[in-house]
Amino acid sequence: MTAIGLDGNAAAGWLAEVFRPDATAAVGECAGCGRRAPLADVNVFGGDVGLVLRCVACESVLLRMVRSPGRAWLDLRGLTFLEFASME
């Protein structure tokens, strides 16, 4: 997952470590340009110790996740909200 050109679908495994429902189906609003899209439909970079999701429209950083053994750190500053389908 180190290559440029992967989309948010590839981030699902990472996000499953911290979110119970699938976060790639959740709609996020970019704090930079206001684009709303499922996290599956964004650009993904990184993939070894860190993961960065960027808006496909304005390239703002939406989400950063860093992992170390036994710990995960999530930065959601680039998203004004994440909208999940309600869980039963």
Binding site: A3, A10, A12, G13, P38, A40
Partner: protein, 233 residues
Amino acid sequence: MTWQVATVVALRDETRTARTISLRVDAWLGHLAGQHVDVRLTADDGYSAVRSYSIASAAGGDEALELTVEELEDGEVSPFLAGELAVGDQLEVRGPIGGWFVWRPEQIEPVQLVAGGSGIVPVMSMLRTHRRRPNGTDMRLLYSTRTPETLIFRHELDGADLLYTRMAPPDTVRPAHRLDTADVLTYSLPAAESPTCYICGPTGFVEAAAELFLSAGHTARRIRTERFGGGGT
């Protein structure tokens, strides 16, 4: 979600560069069509690499979990999976993963599948699932590939619209070229039927195809995409 041990139970070459890997995973709870798994390989020195691979097998069955992997020239992981891996070897997998690029048999709208190259893999899982349990809805496949030799799952493509970008078989009406507006209008469900469109392939293909479907009148909220870079090793 935890890593599980998967044992290779069968290998099947699909093309010169693509291979299907059948895995047995104890306590596997099944998957949805279109989902993927993360595969982790760890070297003797402890270095490990994780990559995502789409599931090719149908959902809702009890057969082995199948991944179809296209070998990428500069890949770190895919040449091993598509080349050296042998029956009996073990891998670590976690999954199934992903809730966006999935098709569920409860969906009652028509479906247009669009695949470019090895983007056929998650789409084939949808087609296999639909064929196993037809739900009365139309599901069509438009598959763009370079040449007849690069067709993956060639024995399961009856009824699919096959479009070639580099070299078409001699008896084909359509000359080889990249997907264009005329192709979308000729070889896919009309926008008036409001199909859900699943588009998967390399980034350039997916972006171009999604634009073509939008300009053919399909709405953005009925288009779901999954793209991978040429270097998605």
